[in-house]
């Protein structure tokens, strides 16, 4: 007879997704792909919230994920507008080329 799925599997999956996203943020140079990797990291954190809420029998995890999704949506709107602006100014969104604030 199979038991319930252990919570450690969920947390392990969440950690793996977060780490894959972090690796992408560090290694990729296209700003939009970096942005997508950040979304993946957010999703890893969301999975941890939901798993913890389920484990503790609380609805607060789902509410917290709801707020994270709100922030992610606002972040997507603002961030992509900034990318379009940078592309208009410089003709590229390579994060190595965008060093205007470096002085």
């Amino acid at each position: 007879m199979l038991h319930e799925i252990p919570n450690s599997l969920y947390f392990g999956l969440s950690a793996a997704l977060f780490t894959i996203g972090a690796i992408g943020v560090i290694t990729r140079r296209n700003a939009i792909i970096v942005f997508m990797c950040i979304e993946l990291m957010l999703n890893g954190a969301n999975l941890a919230f939901i798993a913890a809420g389920n484990m503790l029998g609380s609805i607060d995890g789902a509410v917290f994920v709801f707020f994270i999704m709100t922030v992610a949506a606002a972040e997507a709107a603002i961030g992509l507008a900034i990318f379009v602006l940078i592309f208009r100014q410089k003709g590229t969104i390579d994060v190595d080329e965008i060093n205007l604030l470096k002085g």
Binding site: L9, A16, N43, L56, M69
Partner: protein, 177 residues
């Protein structure tokens, strides 16, 4: 769908399949060079995560995941990718700089830290258990919590969305000069 009355073997199959798909598509997303391929693989990862949320009794979040992430945010990203004439990432691969070594080290530490959460997890049990949730309805429980205990953060979140909306319009507007 109520997952509590379903055979545990089926839940295991669903969980294992969707988590493997999520990991595979996440790795594909990070490694593909074409941004459109990255975006499509990320959508696959979001859908499989929504299935995992269903196995955790979080129906509302699963639906919101598909609608907000796989629908709205990815549509926006793909739209911007098509708006911007993206050149392929130039091939300057074989550069191992000190920054990358440090970054890899930090990433490994990050993974160990998130894994260590497993073994040091305090917290108290709440009222909504996996057994009681399907009876009262997960979506209803989330709604009651949002409009009761978390009413003020909910209003703040709506103001945040309004600011994001106005900010995006102001930023993307073409200056007339």
């Amino acid at each position: 769908m109520d997952f509590t009355i379903i055979d545990p073997a089926f839940r295991w199959v669903v969980f294992l399949a969707s988590s493997l798909v999520a990991l595979f598509s996440a790795i594909m997303m990070v490694t593909r060079r074409n941004p459109i391929h990255c975006a499509l693989w990320l959508i696959v990862a979001f859908f499989s995560l929504a299935v995992i949320y269903l196995t955790l009794h979080a129906q509302f979040i699963a639906i919101a995941q598909v609608m907000v992430y796989a629908g709205a945010i990815m549509m926006l990203i793909i739209f911007v990718i098509m708006l911007i004439q993206l050149e392929k990432e130039s091939v300057r691969r074989s550069r191992v700089t000190g920054g990358k070594v440090v970054g890899a080290f930090i990433t490994v530490i990050l993974f160990l830290e998130t894994g260590a959460v497993l073994y040091s997890f305090p917290g108290s049990a709440g009222k909504a258990s996996g057994v009681s949730l399907p009876q009262m309805g997960s979506v209803a429980a989330v709604g009651a919590s949002l409009y009761g205990k978390y009413l003020f953060p909910f209003e703040i979140a709506s103001i945040l969305l309004l600011i994001g909306l106005i900010g995006a319009v102001v930023l993307a507007r073409r200056r007339q000069e």
